[in-house]
């Protein structure tokens, strides 16, 4: 079943069908939230909120649009809201670092993203640039789809992505030269 068929089932009252939607999109959604927020706990909370809001607003979803783009739009706005709230109330927000997920005793090595992600890399990018880069690199979104999520024109999304790629290249070159 594709997303639209599951949504149709949900709209007829089949609440359990939404689990398939969550299972299908939770990984990319959590990755996107982690890339934007750079904080594990916040990312998980925001992802859950985004899914809950998506469920509540299912009746407003236009089936001619991509559900994934719609969900990411909700998620992106929620992430921005959280960042604004944090910026407002935490003067020390700039020092927010990646937090490791709660480990169970059986877990050996930390996940790959925690091992390899240099803190400074994504921190130099704005949330908008991080989102554009994540949607482009992880999800294969086009400029138009990225623009849908960011709520801007395709031109702006292309320029945002260009700036993000340029910054990342510069950072990678600098870190490579430093070794």
């Amino acid at each position: 079943m594709d997303d639209n068929e599951i949504i149709a089932v949900c709209l007829r009252g089949g609440r359990e069908g939404f689990r398939d939607i969550v299972d299908r999109h939770q990984g990319p959604a959590l990755a996107m939230a982690l890339n934007i927020l750079r904080n594990r706990q916040d990312a998980e909370d925001i992802c859950q909120e985004a899914f809950v809001q998506a469920f509540r607003s299912l009746a407003q979803f236009d089936p001619r649009r991509s559900f994934r783009t719609w969900l990411f739009t909700i998620l992106y706005r929620k992430c921005l809201d959280l960042l604004k709230r944090k910026r407002r109330f935490q003067s020390a927000f700039a020092r927010v670092r990646y937090e490791t997920p709660l480990k169970t005793p059986g877990e050996a090595a930390p996940p790959a993203w925690d091992r390899e992600l240099p803190e400074e890399m994504l921190g130099r990018l704005s949330p908008k640039e991080r989102t554009a880069l994540c949607l482009w690199a992880n999800e294969g979104f086009t400029a138009t789809e990225i623009a849908d999520v960011l709520g801007c024109s395709a031109s702006t999304s292309r320029v945002t992505l260009f700036n993000a790629r340029k910054k990342i290249k510069l950072i990678l070159e600098k870190s490579h030269a430093a070794r």
């Binding site: 949900c10 709209l11 609440r15 939404f18 689990r19 969550v22 299972d23 939770q26 990984g27 990319p28 959590l30 990755a31 982690l34 890339n35 998980e44 992802c47 859950q48 899914f51 809950v52 469920f55 509540r56 607003s57 299912l58 009746a59 407003q60 236009d62 089936p63 001619r64 997920p101 996940p111 790959a112 993203w113 390899e116 992600l117 240099p118 890399m121 994504l122 880069l133 994540c134 482009w136 690199a137 992880n138 709520g151 801007c152 024109s153 395709a154 031109s155 702006t156 292309r158 320029v159 260009f162 993000a164 790629r165 340029k166 990342i168 290249k169 510069l170 950072i171 990678l172």
Partner: protein, 170 residues
């Protein structure tokens, strides 16, 4: 390479994203030198958290299920329902840009008019100089040889003397 530097500078100074986008499409996407300054897909993925690395926690779905357990799917507002069956309207995000552009242009025109008026206004000293001249009043009812004559009345500021001068029109 110098050409690429020039394009890079142009990209920095261009004010609008639409112009930058035109530059991106026109040059940078086809220029290997400029493209080499951008992170490729693999490099971007290296610094991003990927979905397979995100590590979705086990209690993710139960937490969502708890929260949606007590809530209903909100009914779509009338406008949204109507839109779902009709044609998709054009995005309205350009509306405010047009409004901003029009109001900005109007403001620029007003400022230009105000500036031109300010620059062409007579200097305050000029008015004072005109006032220092003796008052001159021309009268039309004096006639010489039954012909209207040019008549002037002079009254210097520093004197009570009034001089009336009439001359024949030639």
């Amino acid at each position: 390479m110098r050409h690429a530097d020039l394009v890079g500078l142009l990209f920095r100074v261009l004010p609008f994203d639409a112009w930058k986008d035109a530059l991106l499409r026109g040059h940078i996407e086809n220029c290997p030198a400029c493209r080499s300054r951008l992170a490729c897909l693999e490099e971007a993925r290296r610094v991003l958290v990927r979905s397979e690395d995100a590590g979705v926690p086990g209690g993710f779905w139960p937490a969502i299920a708890d929260r949606i357990g007590g809530c209903e799917i909100a009914a779509a507002p009338m406008a949204v329902t109507a839109r779902a069956s009709g044609p998709v309207p054009a995005p309205r995000r350009w509306a405010w840009r047009w409004a901003a552009a029009v109001s900005g242009t109007a403001l620029a025109v007003l400022l230009t008019i105000a500036l031109v008026r300010f620059l062409h206004a007579p200097a305050p000293g000029a008015a004072g100089a005109a006032e220092s001249e003796p008052d001159q009043v021309r009268i039309h009812y004096v006639r010489i040889d039954n012909e209207p004559a040019r008549t002037f009345i002079f009254k210097p500021h520093d004197s009570d003397v009034v001089i009336v001068w009439a001359g024949k029109n030639i």
